[in-house]
């Protein structure tokens, strides 16, 4: 069920992979074919989200909704699904991020329900 929900993102142009990371950085589920080590990436995304959450709170007692990490040849989107799970999506460069965000918003409940 969760894998199916993640696969919906792969339909979008430029999306390479999507995964759900558990608290602690373990990859719960993944979809897509990438050469990168998703386990390692999961841990780093988890760390990144913790730091970003701290920053959001420190800056304005605000709640973090999403992070984008843009690289020269790709982009990573990460967002908290709940207190214990993070959704990470890897894309190629110049991908329509707005579309991905829209799909994410649309499918968030489905993904959360499948956890």
């Amino acid at each position: 069920m969760l894998k199916q929900a993640l696969k919906k993102f792969l339909i979008l142009e430029g999306v390479l992979a999507a995964c759900v990371v558990e608290d602690g950085g373990t990859v719960l589920e993944k979809a897509g074919r990438v050469t990168m080590d998703l386990e390692e990436l999961g841990q780093r995304v988890h760390q990144g989200l913790i730091a970003s959450n701290s920053m959001a709170y420190e800056l304005s007692r605000d709640e973090l909704t999403m992070i984008f990490v843009e690289l020269k040849e790709g982009t990573l989107l990460a967002t908290s699904l709940d207190d214990d799970h993070i959704l990470a999506i890897m894309t190629k460069n110049n991908t329509n991020i707005g579309r991905i965000r829209y799909e994410l918003k649309k499918n968030r409940d489905t993904i959360t329900a499948a956890l």
């Binding site: 730091a51 920053m55 959001a56 973090l64 984008f68 843009e70 690289l71 020269k72 707005g98």
Partner: protein, 367 residues
């Protein structure tokens, strides 16, 4: 006393906040002669280190910290810059200290002064900051420049409402790479000759700056706070020698960095911006507490860089933290990193555009 100050070489006259002055006199040696209403005062500055604060209105005189406090209460100061050579500076310093007399003690300095940082007041519906003289205000406790004068309460009210337009000041900051550009129309005609000699002045200042110690670079910075090397006894304690961060280390702040931040801040939707290095805010503009955030931003940055390594998709370009109330962007900037806040309505395309323009701007400056 002010009339007895060495005349020096007039660089120009302008309006700006005390903070702005503090961040743009790193290479300046001389007096910043400040006019507030009918009163006049000065700050003696030696390469970014304020060594004396003085203000006089009629028979009332403020020195050291009280004068600093009084200047601080004004969001915008009207001043002229008088550049001194070593001899003129020595004379000015002697005049200041001599007049005080050996029996007189410096003004009491028992209150901590907040360190100077580039943090303009938040914008609101304000009147234009420039082209208007600053009204006299009586905000320093126990000192009323209006005392004895006939002023209406309406005028007094107006004076308190007079606050600077942040964007205008930042515009000045950007132009400050060359003080001659900032010389306003209020520069006296007799100073025209001096103004023409400005390029030579600036070259001289730069030359002098290069031959003397500069603030310690981040990599070599000590863990302890750096104290001003020649700070006068009358200069307020705890006042950073014109660095823009009250953190435990001092960093050299370049005019161009302030100018770049000012440029970013004028982009649509940008609320505040900071350059940070090794977890410390080097310089910040706008309404945000970057001092507290810089260390966390460094953590977020490291996480982003490790994500970049794990993904193997090229170098780190930028990181955007999207919050409900604002966006935070962290990106490489020269040898350090830049962090800026935008409104939530600013979309990723705009952010990318700002970063690309900034990179282009820096490459053009480098050539």
């Amino acid at each position: 006393m002010i009339n007895d100050l060495p005349k020096g070489k007039s660089i120009g006259a302008m309006q700006a906040s005390l903070q702005w002055i503090s961040t743009h006199t790193i290479r300046f040696i001389g007096a910043v002669v400040i006019t507030i209403g009918d009163g006049e005062g000065f700050i003696l500055i030696k390469k970014g280190t304020p060594e004396a604060y003085y203000f006089q209105h009629g028979s009332k005189v403020l020195r050291g910290k009280p004068a600093f406090d009084y200047f601080s209460t004004h969001d915008l100061l009207t001043f002229r810059l008088q550049k001194y050579n070593a001899e003129e500076y020595r004379k000015a310093s002697a005049l200041y200290n001599g007049e005080q007399g050996s029996e007189l003690t410096p003004a009491p300095l028992d209150v901590d002064i907040p360190a100077i940082s580039v943090k303009p007041a938040p914008e609101s519906s304000r009147p234009p900051a420039r082209a208007k003289p600053i009204k006299k205000t009586a905000v320093y406790p126990g000192f009323d420049p209006e005392e004895g004068n006939d002023t209406t309460s309406q005028e007094s009210q107006k004076s308190h409402e007079f606050v600077p337009d942040v964007r205008k000041i930042l515009e000045s900051a950007e132009n400050s790479l060359d003080f001659s550009d900032s010389i306003s129309d209020v520069t006296e005609s007799e100073e025209d000759d001096d103004a023409q000699e400005l390029p030579e002045d600036r070259a001289e200042l730069l030359e002098e700056a290069e031959t003397e110690d500069r603030p310690i670079a981040p990599a070599a910075a000590p863990a302890e706070p750096q104290s001003a090397p020649e700070q006068s006894k009358d200069a307020p304690r705890d006042t950073e020698p014109f660095t823009t961060s009250p953190g435990p280390r001092t960093f050299p702040v370049e005019d161009s960095e302030v100018a770049d931040l000012g440029w970013i801040l004028r982009r649509n939707g940008v609320l505040a911006a900071s350059v940070f290095s090794d977890g410390f805010s080097v310089v910040a503009l706008g309404d945000a507490d970057f001092e507290a955030v810089a260390a966390i931003a460094e953590d977020a940055l490291r996480a982003a860089e490790s994500i970049a390594t794990a993904m193997g998709m090229g170098a780190f370009v930028q990181m955007t933290l999207q919050m409900k109330g604002k966006n935070v962007i962290i990106a490489p900037y020269r040898d350090t990193h830049i962090c800026f806040l935008t409104s939530p309505k600013t979309h990723l395309g705009q952010i990318r555009g700002i970063l690309q323009e900034l990179a282009l701007r820096n490459s053009q400056q480098g050539t």
